[in-house]
Symmetry: C3
Subunit: 350 residues, 3 copies
């Protein structure tokens, strides 16, 4: 990746910054403080790394305004309100340069049903398939091999990476990013058992993905049995997550990789699931609750609470019990010892 | 989704039902009792929701024959033997209407090897690839972007959603449904360690998927090292499940999302794995056994038993231990107290 | 699968072996000792199965040199230095015969950007897409539907199964095998929270997959925020594994199915993760450490150690505690009993 940014260009991008040191620097890359080399930019995003700043070989260091210290020879300190945010602006600029520009239009190898509606300013990449009565909005980019099912609608300025599947009758808002291999609208897992045989419940509902949702690679979102599976505005979902039928995920939730949410469960707004969490069906996780990694949620969860463990319990309780668990061998010995003492006393005194 | 069903049409579909109330109703959708609106159909599938029936705004309510109570104005009660089953019949009817009809034939963008055999009544969608010596049976529908490998055979009336991969030399029975992104026949994970380097065990076996099996989105089924990985008749598998090489899954098993089964393990008939269960290799889970969510199965499991936990133990034992775990802090205090009392006694009396 | 190998052909393939018994045998398949039939080859790979040898119906049995016993009528014993390795050689031979030969060249349905560089001895299968400035090396096979992004480079003699996605700016070494549905270079999951809204951290790094790495079906490997996500030489990864951004996996590691590794974590060389392990971010697992199935790793791990549990603890400690856990009901009773005795004593004597 060929990056080349002058100090002036960087100041243009971040739109602020008090300069101290050498401004005659060209940035070729970005790296952490401890491994950055000359020609690279670094940043102090967390004060616990502040000891690494004086020893960093980075040519430019983004620092909080209150940081004390002076740059080395041929080094520039840029003091800004929020170094992490400024870094993201620079990275965003680089990302745009790195990403290929997609001129609007439809690749000749794509298969578009004549009844589909493609906005003239959308980009439909190689070997995409758009089925009957589907639509794709302005500014949306479908990379190669994306499938859009019958009667599904994709909003504006979305980005779908290769091999996204959006099954039929689903609705996607604006600025939605779906990573490679995401499946939206697969059938929910529902069966009636009758004399030892499982009969499929037809899954005639659909999926709504609201604005600004982002979903990670190979994640699966099932359509509803009837009604809708909904992912609300601003929620971000990591890779290999399972969202079952009729789940309702609130706004601005964060769901880390390999978590699974069973059918008809509700996550209120701002819920966080760490990695590999499992959530049972037909329950509610209250707003802003946090579930720790590998937690197994089998009951309703209080808003604003922190829980962990399988089955889940409050975080502080879980930590306490975890400490005591490690002392179990000692406890068994103590009890054996108490029994011995009492037995002896019994013999001697009773 | 445009649904429009008259009372008469609904009676036709379910084939039974005692009417009470307004029969002049057009149904536009299906919803749960508490949220159904006028123009929607609802059902009482579980008696614990029977209190919601009198307040429901649904225009038609499917009820068990013994249900007491009278419909509201402009509402129809339909009493049937099994409301859930009747609902599934209606949903199936709607599903058929919603799903695009696929006229038999091969899409012009599909790539079919000249040695492959496609039944004239099969449907091969856009950008499917069928390799040499493969075959696809009568009535089978391959949606877009399905890959069928060399010498693999797919039976009758199957439905493969977009991006299914069936690798070479695998066999699929009749009426098998594979959701989007399912991979059947990937190489098993087997290596010989020799002087620090892992040498791949060639995986020359294959996979058999028997009749009426259904497999969820992005699930992976590995081919055998030699011999066969087998999923027997009627088994249903959810999304993101891993089935390793040489696994043998019996008839009518239910495997929930994100579970994983290690190599050469056997599940007998009617086994249920809840979500995120892990099963070690070379073991047997007895028929009709049930493993709770996130369970870690590291030993053979008795038929008809219920187990949970990591490592797995009988369900009742696990529940008891879980209760006691939460009382550990109290137990540690009690033991400390007993020690103190005994010490005191020792000082005073010994 | 039509396999047909004479005794002489088998000796040619394994290049060694002391014959005893009937050499006039044609092998049609391979099977375990207990289920092998006449016409099949079997092997004694683990001495615990040695009792099965005399009863095996296999026509050829690969045995360690020191094995005592005589073949049955119409049976051949082949004594070799390492039966498992000899078997792998035979299977490798069969695998080559079974796999379709891929003549170098580009399928007419593939879409290749004019700026991409394809070695004339590479094979590019049906409906592959190769983007601008990408390259594919000599002897590499891309099965159907593989996507190679802009500026990504694939080395020599690699094998990518159907539906592999290699996003832009990634580098793959030689002899790398990627199973169907593998996603390499998806965006990492990183956000800055600002007034309740999550802002995406642009992910401008990339992924390096070194020589002889093998990755299982539907596994996802995220690109770095900046810098690189790296999978080092000889590492093998199973199906449905998640590798987050900026992870660094050492040489010759083994990562079993459905494990997940969070951002910026390092696995040193020869680490083993069993199935469904979760590893937190920003930690280090020391070389040759082993983590048991479903383990939850929330801290740095000592080299050469064995750990298990959530949160993880040393294996021996975990086993001990697991045994004691099952005795908790008994312990609670003992303590209750001690309390009763002491109370009684108090009443009687104090």
């Amino acid at each position: 990746m060929d990056i080349s940014l002058s100090t002036d260009e960087i100041l243009d991008i971040i739109g602020e910054g008090i300069k101290e040191g050498d401004t005659d620097v060209i940035i070729k890359g970005i790296a952490a403080l401890d491994i950055a080399e000359s020609g690279e930019l670094s940043f102090l995003g967390n004060n616990k790394y502040s000891k690494e700043v004086p020893n960093s070989n980075a040519s430019i260091v983004l620092l909080p305004e209150e940081y004390k210290g002076k740059p080395r020879l041929n080094q520039l300190y840029l003091r800004v309100a929020n170094p992490s945010l400024s870094l993201s602006k620079i990275c965003e600029h680089i990302e745009i340069c790195l990403n290929p520009s997609r001129s609007p239009g439809i690749d000749s190898s794509a298969v578009i049903d004549p009844t589909a509606t493609i906005d003239p300013e959308a980009y439909i990449g190689p070997q995409c398939v758009i089925a009957a009565d589907a639509s794709v909005g302005k500014g949306t980019i479908l990379e190669a091999k994306v499938y859009i099912g019958e009667n599904s609608h994709v909003g504006k300025n979305c980005q779908f990476k290769p091999q996204v599947v959006l099954a039929s009758y689903c609705k996607v808002g604006d600025r939605v990013r779906l990573e490679a291999g995401v499946i939206v609208g697969s059938d929910g897992f529902g069966y009636d058992l009758n004399e030892g045989v499982h009969y499929r419940n037809p899954q005639i509902g659909y999926v709504i993905i609201e604005n600004d949702v982002e979903i990670g690679a190979n994640t699966t979102i099932d359509r509803a049995r009837f009604d809708v599976t909904r992912i609300q505005e601003g929620t971000k979902i990591d890779n290999l997550v399972q969202v079952a039928h009729n789940v309702n995920i609130g706004k601005n939730c964060m769901i880390a990789a390999q978590s699974g949410i069973s059918g008809s469960t509700t996550l209120e707004d701002n819920v966080t699931l760490a990695g590999q969490v499992g959530v049972a069906g037909h329950i509610t996780i209250g707003q802003a609750a946090i579930i720790g990694a590998q937690g197994g949620v089998n009951r309703d969860i209080e808003p604003e609470s922190k829980s962990t463990g399988t089955p889940v319990m409050p975080l502080l309780q879980a930590r306490k019990i975890d400490v005591l668990l490690r002392k179990l061998p000692e406890l068994f010995k103590k009890v054996a010892n108490l029994e011995k003492i009492l037995e002896k006393k019994a013999v001697i005194k009773d």
